[in-house]
């Protein structure tokens, strides 16, 4: 089983080497003419104003949190999905119950208007 993964290792090394060589080429070829304007953050030709590390909307954090919740639940579903044909009816209804609770959670999130920007 383990030797099946060996080609992936070799392939990954080749790909990473290719990508690193691209970075090297970006470093060594090409002209380097620095100027103050060029190194400033791009802002459509206007002088850059206020900080660029600014606060962003709290909803991005919420989305990340819900992503973790739902992704773990997806991982939980995968073993069941592969083997559910061999299991009894009870296993299927148990998973339906789980999905039902999850659906209630999703409806609660939506009712709290988490995904409504205004």
């Amino acid at each position: 089983m383990k030797e099946n993964y060996f080609p992936i290792l070799i392939y990954s090394i080749v790909v990473i080497g290719l990508a690193l060589s691209f970075l090297m080429m970006a470093q060594y070829f090409g002209p380097r003419r620095k100027s103050k304007q060029k190194l400033e953050p791009y802002e459509c030709g206007v002088e850059p104003f206020d900080s660029h590390r600014r606060k962003f909307h709290v909803k991005f954090y919420l989305i990340a949190t819900f992503f973790i919740l739902f992704d773990i639940e997806t991982v939980f579903l995968i073993p069941w999905a592969v083997t559910f044909k061999e299991m009894s009816m009870i296993a299927v209804f148990e998973m339906f119950f789980f999905l039902f609770i999850l659906g209630i959670g999703l409806i609660y999130i939506l009712k709290k208007r988490v995904f409504d920007w205004d």
């Binding site: 089983m1 099946n4 993964y5 060996f6 080609p7 992936i8 392939y11 990954s12 790909v15 990473i16 990508a19 690193l20 691209f22 970075l23 080429m25 970006a26 470093q27 070829f29 090409g30 380097r32 003419r33 060029k38 190194l39 400033e40 953050p41 791009y42 802002e43 459509c44 660029h52 590390r53 600014r54 962003f56 991005f60 989305i63 990340a64 819900f66 992503f67 739902f70 992704d71 997806t74 579903l77 995968i78 999905a81 592969v82 083997t83 559910f84 044909k85 009816m89 299927v92 998973m95 339906f96 999905l99 999850l102 659906g103 999703l106 999130i109 939506l110 995904f115 409504d116 920007w117």
Partner: protein
Amino acid sequence: MSLWAERRISAFIQDRLGPNRVGPLGLFQPVADVIKFIFKEDIVPERANKFIYNLAPLIAFIPPLITFAVIPYGTTDWGLGGNLAIADIGIGILFILAVSSINAYGLAYGGWASFSKYSLLGGLRSAAQIISFEIAMGLVVISLLMSAGSVNLNDMVLYQKENGWFIFTQPLAFILFMITAFAETNRLPFDMPEAESELVGGYHTEYSGLKFAMFFMGEYIAMATMSAIIVTLFLGGWSFPWIETLFPSGSSSVIVIAIVSITVFMGKVTAMLFFFIWVRWTLPRIRWDQLMKQGWKILIPLALLNIVLTAVFKFIW
């Protein structure tokens, strides 16, 4: 290749010629572009975080290529044992889901490290978008796993060869997966991270030269890999109706079968790529809040519903 195809087809749809000077029909245009990119200045903004700034294009470029390693692109005896894939591993689809989501880091890092407002917004948007649609994609894949009963990609192709392609037996899953695929690869109509009219260039606003080219190539490789995944999961991979009777595995040589199956696979991938490009130049971009609403309010409930329906159908039969 797909870059050239994109520019030619977009030109055709917009009623102009497109690049046609370098090589026959302009086929070498992407090569010329890369060579030009090599000799362009590589600007690192002075306030950028240098290490992460250089790391981001690597992360955007590598995972889509590695994902391709597990896709079965051909066979030598129509599924009796000789699979052609760089690596035929047992956890195929999980490997794809795991590796392809690393991509999000590349875009988010690139946006954050550039120290530009547009880049930050673009990076945040792309990260939020990719992780949201990741869930829907995982849930859609589960309904396929329930039908095929395996996470090995070659087993899934074989199942489709026996029982019909998933595009016919799981049409709802196919539509949902197409939508998430467009969102995951940041293609129009869901290319929020780099919405030119709002964010200049999104996460790669500050990148130039080869590093910009790496983001760009990463995006196109992701599109090609996503087409290959769709072909494997929904369009039966290398299988094609009645082609086995033309080249039976007993009498035809191994190489002939390999060439025929790879040609079938590449033909399907090319058709998918054409579809991606076609959609890009046909549909307008939707608003970002609409996109997130669509992802959470429509796609995820529908994907859950699809799982329940698949389970019920499987037990009736």
